[in-house]
């Protein structure tokens, strides 16, 4: 048992008023708000006290973020002047995948470090595309303790990027004949990566690297983004190099524990060159997650690489495909291909793209990943609204293009990951699974929409006549 892993969270309030979900529509002409029973004064959540502040900067009028939608102001106003609308800015927040609801929850987690909790049952659709058409199992009577109280085993979320040795060889004198490969165990099946699709700069990378260090995980980084400010965290970085440029970054390789090489035909030929720079280094190859990814993985697994890193797009979709498949299917394909070839145990698989919520982490692992990376989620933890203005060369509404407080930034990220880890523990605990390693590929402990429909409704209603989710 490794030592108890605990993520210290600490409230880190947002710097800017987050885009609220609801806004009240009220006609002030009907009321000056000086009534003794004024619902603005009596709001249970005191959301109206700062109401004027929202209007005080014309940079952008902000609506009420804190409104909890209890409808009491609407229903109790003596003049009945209140109505409610959805904040138009909330409506257009993010995109279909990174929807406003997800952004809101990520902000909440980065702010508080807490697991989002709500009442009144599940509010969403019965089933939805992607990871939302899959449920995880639970066990009625077995649940490992999540925090190791009373000396019991706790749930272990570690994973390894180490080199996999299928067997040990011994000398005749029973001493170990094979070299013991370096072991790199990370406490959480999650790595960091800042997607170049959006903004990358030093102000963002430093707090993230610091958070990675605090959490004991690693962050992928392109050599062109590395600045001296990142040097204290060199040990927590994975440089993403190419066949062409790795020689220029020898120093970086020397300081790292893992290095990633972009996939290219014959890439295996440079492995030794890198190992010569730093013998202990663990090698990872970055592969686009497209239709050839599975066969490429099978090929590369035989070349002595330690881990593979697959890049899906920012929505977790297959690359270069007319009707792309989702991460769920893609992970499954790669994993099963390696299982089929009996080489799954030899390699570690990391997947990037579309990991937006804690459950995605668990579900991707169930599908067969060893670990995933958080990308946009990290930026969102720093209040990014995914508005895309930076792509158009416009200013950032939350000033991520300017220096930010490093302590605050890393606290927000640590909070987010702390909340994610807690949620992962909840899921694993409910399943009665004690180790993240055991979760990998364990589809038997999950339920898939198509299977449930077939097994439970098939006998009643016959054959499904619609494809997909219907």
């Amino acid at each position: 048992m490794p030592k108890k892993y605990h993520i210290p969270t600490k409230t880190a309030p947002p710097r800017f008023h987050p885009v609220g979900k609801y806004t009240t529509v009220e006609f002030r002409e009907n009321c000056a708000g000086s009534c003794r029973m004024c619902v603005k004064k009596n709001c249970v959540y005191n959301i109206f006290t700062e109401n004027m502040l929202h209007a005080s900067t014309m940079a952008e009028p902000e609506y009420l973020y804190t409104c909890m939608s209890c409808f009491r102001c609407i229903q109790e106003c003596t003049r009945g002047i209140f109505s409610r609308a959805i904040n138009p800015d909330y409506r257009t927040l993010g995109d279909d995948y990174w929807c406003s609801d997800i952004l809101h929850r990520l902000w909440y987690q980065a702010h508080t470090g807490k697991v989002p909790v709500s009442g009144a049952g599940y509010r969403g659709p019965f089933v939805a595309p992607g990871f939302d058409s899959m449920w995880t199992d639970m066990s009625e009577i077995v649940r490992p303790t999540r925090d190791g109280i009373h000396g019991r085993e706790y749930i272990n979320t570690c994973f390894e990027l180490s080199r996999r040795v299928t067997r040990l060889e011994f000398n005749p004198d029973m001493s170990l004949a094979s070299a013991v490969p370096p072991i790199l165990e990370l406490p959480l099946p999650l790595l960091f990566r800042l997607s170049p699709d959006l903004m990358i700069n030093e102000h963002l990378l430093v707090p993230m690297a610091r958070a990675a260090q605090v959490l004991g995980t690693l962050m992928f980084v392109r050599p062109q983004d590395v600045t001296p400010a990142l040097s204290p965290y060199a040990h927590s970085l994975i440089p993403c190099l190419t066949e062409a440029d790795f020689k220029e970054h020898g120093a970086m390789i020397g300081n790292s524990r893992v290095v990633e090489l972009a996939d290219a035909p014959g890439i295996e030929k440079v492995f030794n060159a890198i190992r010569n720079i730093q013998p202990e280094i663990l090698l990872m190859v970055g592969i686009p997650l497209d239709s050839r990814a599975a066969s490429r993985a099978a090929d590369l697994s035989l070349t002595g690489v330690d881990s593979l890193h697959f890049y899906a797009d920012e929505h977790g979709n297959e690359l270069n495909a007319a009707s792309p498949r989702f991460l769920k299917e893609m992970v499954r394909e790669v994993h099963l291909k390696l299982v089929e070839n009996s080489i799954r145990q030899k390699i570690n698989l990391v997947f990037s793209g579309g990991i937006a919520m804690a459950e995605h982490m668990a579900k991707a692992i169930i599908c067969g990943a060893d670990a995933v990376t958080a990308d946009h989620a990290l930026l969102i933890a720093l209040e990014c609204r995914l508005c895309g203005r930076c792509r158009d060369g416009l200013s950032c509404p939350v000033k991520l293009d300017e220096p930010l407080d490093m302590q605050w930034g890393s606290a927000r990220i640590v909070n987010l990951i702390g909340a994610w880890q807690n949620q992962l523990l909840e899921l694993m605990g409910a399943m009665g699974i004690r180790e993240a390693r055991r979760l990998r590929g364990e589809v038997g402990r999950s339920m898939w929409f198509e299977d449930l429909e077939r097994e439970h409704f098939g006998p009643l209603f016959g054959e499904r006549k619609v494809s997909g989710l219907g």
């Binding site: 249970v44 609801d101 009144a120 599940y122 019965f126 639970m138 066990s139 439970h456 499904r464 989710l469």
Partner: protein
Amino acid sequence: MNQISKQQQLPEIKEVPSRFRNTIGKFTIKRSAACISCGLCAELCPYGVHLRYENYSKPMRPVEHKCIGFECRQNEYYCIDRCPQKALTLRLNPVLETLGDFRWPAEMLLAHWEMAETGHLPVVDLEYNLGNSGGGFDKIRFKLPDSEKYLDVSDEAMDLSLDLNKRRDGRPERRLSLPCYSGGMSYGSMALTALTGRARAAQKLNTLTCTGEGGYPEEFIPYADYVITQVATGLFGVREQTIQYAPVIEFKYAQGAKPGLGGHLLGDKVTPEVAAMRETVVGSSLFSPFPFHSVYSVEDHKKHVDWVKAVNPRGLVSVKVSTPTDVDMVAVGSYYAGAHIIHIDGSYGGTGAAPDIAKKNIAMPIEYAIPKVHQFLKEEGIREEVCFIASGGIRNAMDVAKAIALGADGVVIGTAELVALECVRCGNCESGRGCARGIATTDHELGRMISESYAEQRIVNMYMAWRKQWCEILRQFGMQSIRELVGRSDLLVHLDYLDETQRAQYQPVPRHRMII
């Protein structure tokens, strides 16, 4: 015979208006400054939308939830056209956009508020049978009935009862008048007045309510014969005495809202009263462990059941579990441990606060679990010896009927009762002072927003409205007892399993773009 006559004494319906000054309606009516207070609208409207009190010349703000909307246009009393000043405007109420969610859309909420207010099905055109979730119950429909089979009997002659003890083990053969009873909500999670109101409603309706795992407040004692004592993993407030009070003792292994997790009550809600009941410290968060630490097998489980049976010789035993992949095995195991009632709680339900990740992702929806368990119990030959209860995301009368047709004997209702008490499903049950609407709160000020008689009558009204719907379904299929409906999945269709022409015969799945 005695049972039947008892059942036919239906509780009285009494109008219980909203606790709030302004009601929310599907339509909104605005009266402009052009109004000359002539009072014609108040004279015209037969639905009581426009009220005008004696000696107060101005009509009051319209009672919007009573307005039937644009379909009124054809009537000669259509206020919008008749107003001499053209001072009235009718619109769809834009606030509905911000109300409700995929499972409980705004109209379903409004309809249930109306049922709880009047005891009748709404006059206003509201969709209250189907949600917007795009699957499960929302895609399942009753088959088009054969009009020749229609059974013309009155509501009073209908048998909607539910037998809880089918084991014939000498314990009481308890029969409820409704095919449903209400779910566990703990002392501490809810305003005591609301809880007591539920118990009073259960007595009036001859059904049951459940303590949840927060102990047994003495306010329940007058209604003890209608209150289930829950024994959950935290064993909060469980005493021999409280087990002896109860006609049914429920073991809660898991709950649908947070399958695989124990219950939890955040510190804010642990007031001195709650702490005393639960024998704990004021303000400290309470987490129930998961699972029962003394239960690791069916044998362990049986030991517990035997213990309860010994403590209360006339009590029935219910076992509440969630919906893992092997839910059918769990159900059978519970039967062998001696349970009278097997209660399966699906993943999408729940009333109290739970981690969002658990509500959404863990365990399967109840729609899948019901046929699975029903079938397995049949195969094991014990289907007729247990009372199979389903719950978790069963929202309305139609869902209840569908669940029964899928194979359950009855269901447990939670959220709908809260909606009857004017819950808006804002989901903030645990934040700050708790429910801003005074339902799920232990805050002294907020808790005063509900009176026992209000809670009691609103719940009675809602079930009486539901009863009308059930009776109509039974009549359409020529049945006189809801027991005839159990497991009749042949009466159901699922839209995704029909070809297009067949599907066109049924009401389509509501699909609105929602922002939740």
